[in-house]
Amino acid sequence: MFAQALSGIRVLDIGHHIAGPYCARLLADFGAEVVKVERTEGGDPSRKAGPFPNDKPDPEASGLFFYLNTNKLGITLNLKTDTGIKIFHELVKQADVLVENFSPSVMPSLGLSHGDLKAINRGLVMTSISNFGQSGPYRDYKATDIVLQSLGGWLRSRGETTREPVRAAGALRIAEYIGGIYAATGTMTALIHKAETGIGQHVEVSLAEAVSTMNCYPVAMSCFPRNTGWSKVRWVYTPSVEECKDGYVGINTLTGAHWRDLCALMDMPDWAENPDYNTLAARLRRRGEVYKRIHPWLMERTREKIFAEGRDWRVPVAMVYNTEDILESPQYQARDYFVEVEHPSLGKITQPGASLKMSRTPWQIKRLAPLLGEHNVEVYGKLLGYGKEDLVRLRQAGII
């Protein structure tokens, strides 16, 4: 039985939607005791998001909620009541970490600002994730993933030069996951500091700023003199993602050597040293011609074949996978990547497993996402000594 690196670290997760819960999930995956605190009415809004089995809405069978809240205990608490706040204070006293991703005005309005909570638990690490951060001219702006990608300077760089720019990762809401990863990393740093000093701190994550770090090249270039003389708005490559016999492959010629090797692979020796084609800028000026030349070669070959030939000829080729491809991929299977679960509501499902492999403290799945209030008895009992009668009373009063 492997040890868990973060066992004994208690995290209160009052996050909702994606960013806060994903941060807390990463901590839970490596052994932290994460208590997810949901509102009494309806719980986390991600319970309404789905996807649902057979598209039938069910708050206990939402794919988004399920994926983000694996490995957590679940309790309910009404923070809109004085009693609820008092109970929350008691929980905070016993926590190492608090993760929240409300708009910045919310926690202070509940009397739960970092200053308020620091006073009752000096060692608390409070991780606050918000769209723009705890300050700034857009602090209280409304935002969703596409708005964050826009103001973060990421959206503009993607797509065709002749039409509107296009969002990264479609409906995935990737900006929120990115924020969650940053938050988990920052939380770990604060925990290391706390272990050394006994002092907690406020860790703040700005999702728009996190998005901006995804776009290193133009952002960095904006700060430096233009040293490649390559001025572009949409970062377009050619070749790039290309259609082939049975799907798509990525032909990623990033260097001169890659281009020359590609010309050898595709039997285009006349283009290897030809200044009309041997730089990206030149090829972009002749996109139509490049496409005309490489397209027939690609359409005669499957993804697997092009991938194998790319490896042999040292050209970076990648197969473009969708969800189905990934589940059927021998590569992922050989790595024992997937976790299979038989869930009462969701049915038989296969999920991604570990995001990384640690030899002594591996990622573990210990429990499935909680039902609403599933661990009220266990958690309130253990942490606050509440008995069954207390909980009945609190439920009747709408506190839990």
């Binding site: 690196a5 973060l6 057979n54 794919g63 399920f66 970092h114 951060g133 409304k142 708005v147 797509g159 065709e160 720019p165 969002r167 990264a168 990762a169 479609g170 409906a171 996951y177 990115i178 938050a183 990393t185 740093t189 604060a190 290391i192 701190q201 860790v203 703040e204 700005s206 776009n215 290193c216 952002v219 960095a220 700060c223 490649t228 970062w235 993602v241 290309e242 259609e243 990623n252 990033l254 260097t255 050597a257 890659h258 040292r314 990648a318 197969m319 473009v320 996978y321 969708n322 969800t323 590569q331 790595r335 969701l346 038989k348 991604p352 995001s355 990384l356 492999k357 640690m358 002594r360």
Partner: protein, 412 residues
Amino acid sequence: MSNLPLEGIRICDLSTVWSGPFCTAYLGGMGAEVIKVESIQHPDSFRFGTAVFDGWWEAYGPWNCTNVNKYSITLDLNKTQGVELFKELVRVSDVVIENFTTRVMRNFNLTYQVLKGIKPDLIMVSVPGYGMTGPWQDHAGYGIAFEQTSGLAYLTGYTDGPPQNMGGAADPIVGMQAAFAIQVALEHRRRTGEGQLIDVSQIETLTCLLGVPMLDYCMNKRIWGRLGNRDPVMAPHGVYPCKGEDMWLSIAISSDEEWKALCQAIGNPGLAKDERFSTPLNRWKNQDALDKLIEKWTLEHDYYEAMTILQKARVAAGAVASPETLNEEPHFKERGFFQELSRDIVGTQLYPTWPLRFSETPLEMRPAPKLGEHNEYVLGTILGLSKVEIEELEKGQIIGTKPIGLGGGILA
């Protein structure tokens, strides 16, 4: 004012390009002593982004931004002397990080098995594209390739178009995941004295972001594809043209309340009563017509002006900001997100900082080191070599400060 959390932690950083270096830039900013190990025969290929002039290897913008907060040495690991010195450095270090395929460290005979023998509690981190084991372990790749295989590219692009590259975000995402893992391992070591080997397969980290589409496939056999700037549920939702060339505003409406606010804000309150758009489902079904109506309004406004009007009305809207001038964007400017640093060759420039802020232990920002700048410090002060020994190493080209191999240029 507290000391930085990772002070006292020494990291040997063999990683190149973006993912590993991004990770160590963060850890260095948190106080770790990051010793970037390159060689004059094969400097970090991320340096190769500029025209050739004296000092060109120090000039590339993205390289400078990514390699803040580090020390730099050079060691030719193809020579026995270089390998022996690297091992001596590992003996007094806490973490080794690299992002090669497994073949590379095997060829240097610097695998975890070997290094663990030298430093039993070593934390070794590999960030290979496809993992340290498995059929593709020796298959090289770059961030764009990992986005393609991990499923992210398939979700990206226009509704009527092929998958699009996300643009390289794989690297910082995986870099931060690696920083998370290293800190988890440090915590375990603090408790138990035990080090370990960490394998951060880039495609696996990225595919973990696709848990929800994967569930949809298992439950409903649905394969998520591309929808341009639209949304499966929200409408209106998209990117709308504004005044001027290539100027855009994104708008995302997620409730009836927000829809009514939008109608008011664009001076068309009657629209809120239009049957075609009266419910979320109706709005979604009639998006084409809806988008045209909104476009009429946005085309009359500057994109920031339009955003301000809509946000005032509590509508989610975002000007599609330009990354090339992000340091002038009002939010980034007021937040002080960009910071000035001075350095030889490139002078004083603005550098992006971090989306993370700490109330007790703010992140440091120190300019990137010059190639081999700290050879004397690391070899002399840390490893105790004499001046004569160091001179011999320079003569033998085991170490140095000027590249002698050009390799390939990046971004051909």
